[in-house]
C-alpha cells in the first residue's frame, strides 16, 4: 500500500533528535531576527558609517549625478566621489534634513534610445517595468559665511532611513514630515496681487 504520510513511531529514539533539531532551528531563526533588528538601528554614534550614494546636486565643486561614498564619522559628513577630491560638511552646520522617495526610469540614455527605437510601442511596455524606487536625502547647511546651501543625495531604497537615523543620532535635526511628492494631488494657491 502506498501512503503519503507514514505514522511516526514515537517510541523510536529518533524523535528526540527531531525535537532537538526543531528547537535549535527555532532558536537560530529568532536569534538571526534579533541580529537583523540590531543592525537596522544605529548602536554607537562614534562608529563610522558609510554608504554608496549618488550626488544629485548642491555640493560645491562636485558634479551632478556623480556616484560616491557618503560617510559619517565623528561630527563630519563626508562625500567622496569616485576618484575625485571629497567634500566635508560639519554636522553642526546642518540646519535641516529630510527624506523622500522617487521613482526613476533605469538604463539612462541608451535605454531611452532603445525604447524609442523598439517597434509597435514595445518600448512603452518596457518602461512599465524598467523603473526603480530610490530614497532621496536632502540636507540644508550653512557655510563659513553663513550662506545657506542645499544638497540632495539619491540612495538605494531603504538606505535613506539608515543615514537619517545616523545623522539624527549625531544631533542633526530632521524635518517632521517626509517628502512625499508623488502622493499628493494638484495643489493650487492663488495669491492676491500686492
Amino acid at each position: 500500500m502506498y501512503r503519503l504520510f507514514a505514522p511516526r513511531n514515537h517510541n523510536s529514539g529518533c524523535f528526540g533528535g527531531y525535537a532537538l533539531l526543531t528547537l535549535w532551528a527555532l532558536w537560530l531563526c529568532s536569534g538571526s531576527g534579533a541580529l537583523a533588528q540590531s543592525t537596522a538601528a544605529p548602536a554607537n554614534t562614534s562608529t563610522p558609517f558609510s554608504t554608496r550614494v549618488t550626488h544629485l546636486l548642491g555640493l560645491p565643486n562636485t558634479k551632478r549625478n556623480c556616484n560616491g561614498t557618503l560617510s559619517i564619522q565623528d561630527s563630519v559628513l563626508h562625500f567622496q566621489p569616485n576618484g575625485k577630491p571629497g567634500v566635508q560638511v560639519n554636522m553642526a552646520s546642518v540646519l535641516n534634513l529630510s527624506l523622500g522617495d522617487e521613482s526613476k526610469q533605469v538604463g539612462g540614455l541608451p535605454a531611452k534610445l532603445g525604447k524609442a527605437a523598439a517597434p509597435y510601442g514595445a518600448g512603452r511596455v518596457v518602461s512599465l517595468f524598467a523603473h526603480k524606487k530610490y530614497d532621496t536625502l536632502t540636507l540644508e547647511y550653512v557655510d563659513s559665511n553663513g550662506g545657506v546651501h542645499g544638497a540632495i543625495f539619491q540612495l538605494n531604497k531603504g538606505q535613506g532611513e539608515l543615514v537619517r537615523n545616523e545623522l539624527v543620532a549625531r544631533g542633526v535635526s530632521s524635518s517632521s514630515g517626509e517628502d512625499q511628492p508623488t502622493k499628493q494631488s494638484t495643489s493650487e494657491v492663488t495669491h492676491e496681487d500686492k
Binding site: G100, S127, H131, T138, G150, I152, Q184, S187, V189
Partner: protein
C-alpha cells in the same frame, strides 16, 4: 536696447550709457517659500540651488549671494530675489515614459526682485515643467532657467542708488511705471 547692464564698466549700451547712471547690482537669493503648497523639501532645495547657478550664468549681477551670507551687508546695491510657489502638479517619470501625454511635473512660482527699501523692481510668474524626458527634479532646473531668462529679458532700468533715491519709482517687468 539693453537696459539691465553692468554700468560700472562704462561700456554698456543702456539708456544711461557711459554717464555712469547705471550700476551693476548684486542679488541675494532667498530660500523658496512653499506658501500653502505642499511642495517636497527636495524640490525647494533644488529650485534654490538651480536659481543660484542660473543667475550666475546670466552674468547680469556682480555677485550672486546665498541667503544668510554675511557679505550681503557690505554690498551697497543689492537686490533680493524672493520666490513663492503658486502651483505644483506632481508628475511621474514612468507615466511620461509609458503614455507620453500625461505625467508631466509642473511648477509655477512668483518671483520678485526687491530692493533694500522694499521696492519691487520686477515681478513675474514663471513656469517650469518636465513633459517628456528627465526626472521630476528636472522641472526645478527648467524653472530656474526660466526665472533667470525672465530677469535677463526684463526691461527693468537698474539705476544707481543716488538716482533712485531722487526719482523714486516702481517699474513693472515691462518697464512701465
Amino acid at each position: 536696447m539693453d537696459l539691465l547692464c553692468g554700468g560700472l564698466r562704462h561700456d554698456c549700451h543702456c539708456i544711461f550709457g557711459s554717464a555712469g547712471w547705471c550700476t551693476q547690482w548684486s542679488v541675494q537669493v532667498e530660500r523658496i517659500d512653499p506658501g500653502r503648497v505642499d511642495l517636497a523639501h527636495s524640490f525647494q532645495v533644488a529650485i534654490y540651488e538651480n536659481l543660484l547657478e542660473e543667475l550666475d550664468k546670466t552674468k547680469r549681477f556682480e555677485y550672486v549671494l546665498r541667503e544668510g551670507d554675511s557679505k550681503a551687508s557690505e554690498i551697497p546695491d543689492l537686490l533680493t530675489l524672493k520666490t513663492m510657489v503658486v502651483k505644483y502638479t506632481p508628475g511621474s517619470e514612468t507615466r511620461r515614459a509609458v503614455t507620453t501625454v500625461s505625467g508631466a511635473t509642473k511648477l509655477t512660482v512668483r518671483s520678485q526682485l526687491v530692493t533694500r527699501e522694499g521696492r519691487i523692481v520686477m515681478e513675474r510668474t514663471v513656469n517650469g515643467n518636465v513633459r517628456f524626458f528627465g526626472s521630476n527634479l528636472r522641472a526645478t532646473h527648467n524653472l530656474a532657467r526660466n526665472i533667470a531668462k525672465a530677469i535677463k529679458q526684463s526691461n527693468v532700468a537698474i539705476v544707481r542708488a543716488s538716482y533712485r533715491d531722487t526719482q523714486p519709482q516702481t517699474l513693472n517687468a515691462d518697464g512701465t511705471q
